[in-house]
């Protein structure tokens, strides 16, 4: 608990920015959903033949898991891409259904005698709608808005995966760092926000239904609060001309993203926008292609096999040449390697390794039938991942490998839930959790040299980027990377501080 408050205290500015972004995303999406959904609800109530299919479509959209919906939207022009815009589109689509449904239900529940009276008094259809039907349906509609807003608070946390900001940033960072404090730093205020919105809208709903005069006061107060929060959040979104730095969603990537960001901040005057913790390799790659992010650190082997679908090759410089050409052909520039090779590392508990004399992957086949493996989804699917590994080393485990979140895998191994995992050679947790890397004695894994990949147009626009990042060329050794990962993963230190210390040391000529 104290750790949580300490974290908020040391990240106060970022915390409030994320809260404001979170609220803004919820308010904007709910607001647009109301503006679009209420008219659709009116049509649905008046003309079931038109409204029915529309409501059915909204209902269908809601059954799509949010992460999948973000995935569908990413490649689309205009509404797609990395960032708040895509998240908004998805959030609006989700919020539509409850608004449409409750609007239609509220309108259909109005007493026929009240409608007859409205007609007999000489109201036009429009007057009847605005003066009688909508006011009477309002408590029901507000109930729908309440559902939409509360669901929205939850969905926005997931939207951090595509760089939309909000409190999900802390949650993903915490997951990547395996640090419950950081997860809670995002999850607790998100839950509080959901409860607060729920309570406020419930109170509004009740006060409208009870026909008290202060309902109007409540609405005005809520509107003013919303506008202020929206202003804060809007101002907190980075400037459009900022250099956007991305990263995938695990500790080392966050550290590397921070490393690129701080290096540029140190040696240039460019405004920097950090979009760390994006979903994974493919999201980062797509974002870099579209220019949604300007750079991130990729690994040569990953680019070769996963992105360019080429067969695995063992020669590190040949691989670099190949992907440099392939990236260039798609408008991206590969900068010189940072210095370490983060190949896949097949890990076992050191105790198991010692007791069985296990040091090389070729020895694993004899123990595998009694063991359970846990792999990340990407490793299971990738050409240079599990299928090739299994055939190269003749591996057969007791059961099909478990699909695990990369960030939870090391602890699952240390805790005994699985016996073998595929991690990163530079993972700080390897030392911290007393795990052993098995040697790839048949040279199955291709080289995974860390390379900054930059949107080519950005380099042309800002020629100072290349010399600034040249400060890093070959200076980030595997040992340095493992130290930084360990500082973040095991010692729970702030990646920004760890990177700053590393850069300070570089400046002093120490490595």
């Amino acid at each position: 608990m104290a750790a949580l408050f300490a974290f908020w205290g040391s990240h106060a500015a970022e915390f409030w920015r994320l809260v404001a972004q979170h609220v803004l995303l919820v308010l904007l999406s709910t607001g647009v959903a109301v503006a679009v959904g209420v008219p659709i609800g009116v049509v649905a109530a008046r003309r079931p033949r038109i409204g029915g299919p529309l409501a059915a479509l909204a209902s269908l959209i809601q059954t799509v898991p949010s992460l999948a919906l973000f995935g569908f939207l990413l490649p689309l022009p205009l509404i797609g891409g990395i960032g708040a815009r895509t998240a908004l589109v998805a959030l609006i689509l989700y919020a539509l259904l409850p608004v449409i449904r409750t609007t239609a239900a509220g309108l259909l529940a109005v007493e026929p005698s009240v409608l007859e009276a409205a007609d007999a008094m000489g109201m036009t259809l429009r007057q009847r709608l605005f003066q009688v039907e909508l006011p009477l349906a309002l408590p029901t509609i507000v109930a729908g808005i309440r559902v939409a807003a509360v669901v929205g608070v939850g969905t926005v946390t997931i939207a951090a995966a595509i760089g939309a900001g909000g409190l999900g940033d802390f949650i993903y960072r915490g997951l990547a760092m395996v640090d419950p404090t950081v997860i809670l730093a995002g999850a607790v205020p998100a839950a509080a926000l959901a409860l607060l919105l729920d309570g406020a809208l419930l109170a509004l709903e009740r006060s409208i239904a009870s026909r008290k005069r202060h309902a109007r006061l409540g609405v005005s107060a809520a509107a003013v609060t919303a506008v202020i929060l929206g202003g804060v959040a809007f101002a907190s979104y980075p400037r459009a001309d900022a250099i956007v730095i991305g990263s995938k969603n695990f500790t080392e990537q966050v550290v590397l993203g921070e490393l690129l960001a701080q290096t540029l901040e140190r040696y240039t005057t460019l405004p920097i926008d950090r979009r760390l913790n994006l979903g994974g390799t493919f999201i980062c790659d797509r974002a870099l292609q579209t220019g949604d992010i300007d750079m991130y650190v990729e690994y040569s082997g990953t680019a070769l096999t996963a992105l360019f679908k080429q067969p695995v090759r063992p020669d590190s410089s040949a691989v670099l040449e190949d992907i440099r050409a392939r990236y260039a052909a798609t408008g991206r520039t590969v900068l010189p390697p940072l210095g370490f090779n983060n190949t896949f590392a097949i890990l076992v508990r050191s105790a198991d390794a010692r007791s069985r004399g296990l040091t090389r992957l070729s020895q694993l086949a004899t123990h595998a039938p009694g063991w359970t493996a846990g792999f990340g989804f990407e490793f299971l699917e990738r050409q240079d991942g599990y299928p090739g590994l299994a055939s190269t080393y003749g591996l057969r485990f007791r059961e099909a490998p478990k699909v695990m979140d990369v960030s939870l895998m090391y602890r699952a191994l240390a805790g005994g839930q699985v016996d073998v995992v595929a991690g990163d050679a530079t993972a700080g947790l390897i030392d911290a959790l007393d795990l052993t890397v098995l040697e790839d004695d048949r040279k199955y894994f291709p080289p995974y040299d860390a390379i900054p990949v930059v949107h080519a147009a950005t380099l042309l626009r800002h020629p100072e980027i290349r010399p600034a990042l040249a400060h890093l060329d070959g200076r980030v050794t595997a040992a340095a990377m493992r130290r930084m990962n360990n500082a973040v993963d095991a010692q729970k230190r702030d990646p920004a501080v760890v990177v700053r210390e590393f850069l300070d040391a570089l400046d002093r000529g120490v490595s």
């Binding site: 007493e111 005698s113 009240v114 409608l115 007859e116 009276a117 409205a118 007609d119 007999a120 008094m121 000489g122 109201m123 036009t124 007057q127 009688v132 006011p135 009477l136 026909r211």
Partner: protein
């Protein structure tokens, strides 16, 4: 003032009104009486164009209503429903003010008119104006319904079973109110009821509808001597009514 000229009206696959013709002079109260489904409410709704006839003409003040804009016509015509249909999200005063507001009267005039009408129906604005419909009894609600119908001072008042949902004591009380108000305002009133006793008590003329036709139209006294079977049935039903429905002094709710 109001006349029907060979009116046919079809609803669904049924001729609800067949060749209905009558004339109602200004300031009179016509009660349309008949069994359920005889076409009473349909006839009423033709007068303010809530419905339109398939054949024939309906004239109000000598003018064919088909030539009037239904919205304008309805605002000029008072209308009272059995279920009252007060707007639950508006106070009593705002309910009464609905038609004047639609007609865009000045705020002061609306306010004065609302006070006057609530006074007229025995619900002083100071006490009842800010109440909500759900805080009123059934009888009070119907008084508000009458005040609302009279708000823009229409010359014609249409009442669709206005006292049908009330308990007998309240009904009798409202009958008296009705007579008191009508003796002051002299509106031309068409009242739909299935209760011949109510018709006799309130109306200057009674029209008996049977299967879509007017089978008799006369003063209550003249009608009570009619040999027409449909009329006799209604009078017989009336004499079988219980004593509770007869007017009596005191003990009013």
């Amino acid at each position: 003032m109001i006349s029907f000229d060979g009116v046919w009206c079809r609803r669904g696959d049924r001729d609800v009104l067949r060749e209905v013709s009558f004339e109602l002079p200004e300031g009179e109260t016509l009660a349309l009486v008949g069994r359920s489904g005889a076409g009473k409410s349909t006839a009423l709704k033709l007068i303010n164009r809530m419905l339109d006839p398939d054949r024939g003409r309906v004239l109000v003040g000598g003018r064919d209503v088909a030539t009037s804009d239904p919205i304008v016509l309805r605002r000029q015509t008072g209308y009272v429903l059995q279920e009252v249909g007060l707007f639950p999200h508006m106070t009593v005063a705002r309910n009464v003010a609905v038609v004047p507001t639609l007609l865009e009267w000045k705020v002061d005039r609306i306010h004065a008119r609302t006070q006057e009408l609530l006074e007229l129906v025995g619900l002083p604005a100071a006490e009842y104006g800010d109440r909500w419909p759900h805080e009123l009894s059934g009888g009070q609600r119907q008084r508000v319904g009458v005040a609302r119908a009279l708000a823009a001072d229409p010359s014609v008042l249409l009442m669709d079973e206005p006292f049908g949902a009330l308990d007998p004591i309240t009904r009798v009380e409202l009958h008296r109110e009705f007579e008191r108000i009508q003796s002051r305002l002299h509106k031309t009133i068409v009242l739909v009821t299935h209760d011949m006793r109510e018709a006799c008590a309130l109306a200057t003329r009674i029209g008996v509808l049977h299967e879509g036709r007017i089978v008799a139209l006369d003063t209550p006294v003249a009608l009570s001597r009619s040999p027409e079977p449909a009329v006799r049935t209604l009078f017989d039903a009336m004499s079988e009514g219980t004593a509770v429905t007869s007017p009596r002094e005191g003990g009013l709710a």
